[in-house]
């Protein structure tokens, strides 16, 4: 199935979005690497759900408003977006930076959420366990540290050089990643105070060998979010939905089924 691509405008800010499938609505918020291609993971979700994958403001070819300056701003943007796009609560999945955005939005207005799935989310800091310094890594180090399976990493390292347009998108994504994640590094010191407000069913998914955000963070989220389910994924790095697609898709859809039951 090939997804449809739209440009969605919320209060004057346009973002690219792909959508596919039908059923209960699911919104996927991507990580700092940028808007993913239509992944096999999305294909799995779209079998039973109406999946929407927007490209965040300031990333890629979405609008880049200067006033949008931090992750709390992105969270407020997405609360407006939810009001505009959906009439009822939505299942929201956020990966890494996208998980951070989802959590910031959830503590502000949980009533827009049917459930929350956070895959290796940024956003909080466990003192003494800093995340890796992703901004000092070379592209190859990044590719190697992002996943556990080094064969998969090797394929990415040897990928052909990007086209001119893809290079522009990559540079824009890196700029946005720095804007939102550089200082404080990949977290908001205020967010942790409010995680008790995440009162919908919440599912934390984490690669046990995550080299970017150590899996010790999964435990911290599990302790702070009321009733959260934590799913560690073995032999897996920072992108479980890519590296362990079927397993993660099974766990996510089973979680959705339990929420509905």
């Amino acid at each position: 199935m090939s997804p449809e691509t739209d440009r969605l405008v919320t209060r004057g800010v346009a973002v690219r979005a792909r959508r596919g499938g039908s059923g209960a609505p699911v919104l996927f918020l991507h990580g700092a690497g940028g808007w993913p291609v239509w992944l096999p993971f999305f294909e799995r979700l779209a079998q039973k759900h109406a999946l929407l994958v927007p490209e965040h403001p300031c990333f890629g070819l979405s609008d880049d408003p200067q006033w949008l300056r931090d992750v709390p701003d992105l969270a407020m943007y997405y609360l407006d977006f939810l009001d505009q796009v959906y009439g009822a609560p939505v299942h929201i999945i956020g990966h890494s930076l996208g998980g951070w955005i989802a959590a910031e939005a959830a503590v502000r207005n949980i009533h827009r959420f049917a459930s929350l799935t956070l895959i290796a989310p940024a956003g909080i800091r466990v003192k003494g366990i800093p995340p890796a310094d992703v901004f000092i890594w070379s592209p190859e180090e990044f590719a190697r540290n992002r996943v556990y399976d080094q064969e998969l990493a090797g394929q990415q390292v040897q990928a052909p050089p990007p086209t001119e347009q893809q290079l522009d998108i990559d540079l824009q994504n890196r700029l946005a990643g720095v804007k939102f994640g550089w200082q404080p590094r990949l977290f908001n010191p205020d967010l942790e105070k409010w995680l008790h407000r995440m009162t919908v069913p919440t599912h934390i998914v984490w690669g046990v060998q995550d080299s970017i955000l150590p899996s010790a963070y999964a435990q911290a989220w599990g302790e702070r979010v009321p009733g959260a389910q934590v799913s560690p994924i073995e032999a897996c790095g920072h992108v479980p939905q890519v590296e362990k697609c079927d397993l993660v898709a099974d766990k996510v859809t089973a979680f959705f089924d339990r929420v509905r039951a």
Binding site: R174, V178, K179, W182, Q183
Partner: protein
């Protein structure tokens, strides 16, 4: 032509082999490789060299700011400037410069420059820079806001120097209920402001604006890039509606003079090669973090700047002479190289780096004397 004797104050006792085990001589180089006793001797040597530039006839002596690196031992260049005020009588002292975006309170920079200006009775030249990319890693300041913070801090400092206080300053990054400098600068309306830069069109257009006319110093660039940036400044001035003076154009360049070209090259080799290959070595992720330059400028810079540490291959003294990134040779050769750029751009400020890398005191002093005796008078 105005001559500045400029110093980076590199940490020469560095164990270069040990340093090469690390990603860079910046940010991550363990400070267990720094010995304070050797560092003290380095300060002595370098202060002597800068003070010696006054009797040699230089118009100014210059220092600059760098953090968490063996490349330069002046995280607080105003401390060195203060020592130089006490060691000299008439020479101007240029701090090229302070990195405005890296501080949380730019008023401190305005105050310290004002203090130095009063202490020296008006001998201070200030420089405003953004710091290099690595310093956004070492300070944690977000490079995505580097330009905004620079412009806001600049506006605040100039206003603090020129507007009677107290006044209120309301910016996006800096907000102060009271701005009221005690002391104010000695020079009126304020000390000269120079803009050293690795070059970007945005900076050139901004520096050349009629309300500023800040002298623009091109640093560590191949000759073709120096000419291109000087002429870019001239064109920007024309677009602003005036003709740029030579005193608005500067060139900061490593120079080494000896009796013959061959001897100069041999004596300069170790110093210049360690400067570029050891002290300046850093990966592009450290040199140019996203946001430090605009995306369009970033693409141009990466094409135009083969001399910078982003380049993986080792650079030899021959490469650096050939590209004109360093000017090395007999007095006649050095003079001709400088005149060749002056003929193309009319620049009038030469910032000479006469000690670089691991170059010894003996060679550095001889270089200073030969440059001042054999080259400088003929360029005046």
């Amino acid at each position: 032509m105005k001559f500045v004797c400029f110093h980076l104050m590199p940490y020469r006792p560095l164990d270069l082999d040990a340093a090469n085990d690390h990603r860079s001589a910046w940010v991550v180089l363990p400070n267990s490789l720094y010995d304070p006793k050797k560092g003290a001797a380095e300060y002595d040597s370098y202060l002597d060299q800068l003070a010696y530039a006054e009797p040699l006839g230089f118009d100014a002596i210059g220092v600059n700011e760098h953090h968490q690196t063996a490349y330069g031992m002046m995280p607080a260049p105003n401390l060195i400037a203060s020592a130089l005020i006490q060691r000299t009588k008439k020479v101007q002292i240029a701090i090229l410069g302070r990195a405005l975006p890296l501080v949380s309170n730019p008023i401190n920079i305005a105050e310290e420059f004002a203090m130095l200006d009063v202490l020296s009775k008006g001998r201070i030249i200030t420089g405003f820079v953004r710091g290099i990319g690595a310093e956004y890693h070492s300070t944690g300041v977000n490079p995505a806001f580097s330009h905004e913070r620079f412009h806001e801090a600049h506006d605040l400092i100039i206003k603090a120097w020129t507007t009677p206080g107290p006044f209120e300053f309301e910016g996006e990054h800096f907000r102060f209920r009271y701005v009221n400098l005690w002391p104010k600068p000695y020079q009126t309306p304020h000390p000269p402001v120079w803009i050293p830069s690795m070059g970007s069109r945005e900076t050139v257009v901004w520096a050349s604006a009629p309300e500023r006319k800040y002298p623009f110093m091109v640093t560590f660039s191949p000759e073709t890039a120096v000419v291109r940036y000087h002429n870019m400044y001239r064109e920007a001035a024309l677009a602003h509606g005036y003709t740029a003076a030579g005193g608005q154009l500067g060139w900061a360049v490593p120079i080494y003079v000896a009796a013959t070209d061959e001897r100069a090259r041999d004596e300069a080799r170790e110093g210049i090669e360690t400067l570029f290959n050891n002290f300046l070595r850093m990966p592009p992720e450290m040199l140019l973090p996203p946001g430090y330059t605009s995306i369009s400028s970033l693409k141009v810079t990466m094409k135009m700047r083969p001399a910078l540490g982003a380049q993986p291959h080792k650079q030899t003294v021959e490469d650096l002479i050939a590209s004109g990134t360093a000017v090395i040779g007999s007095p006649a050769t050095v003079r001709e190289r400088i005149e060749r750029v002056r003929d193309q751009t009319g620049f009038d400020i030469l910032i000479t780096l006469l000690q670089f890398g691991v170059m010894s005191d003996e060679l550095a002093l001889r270089n200073m004397e030969l440059f001042a005796g054999e080259v400088m008078p003929k360029l005046r």
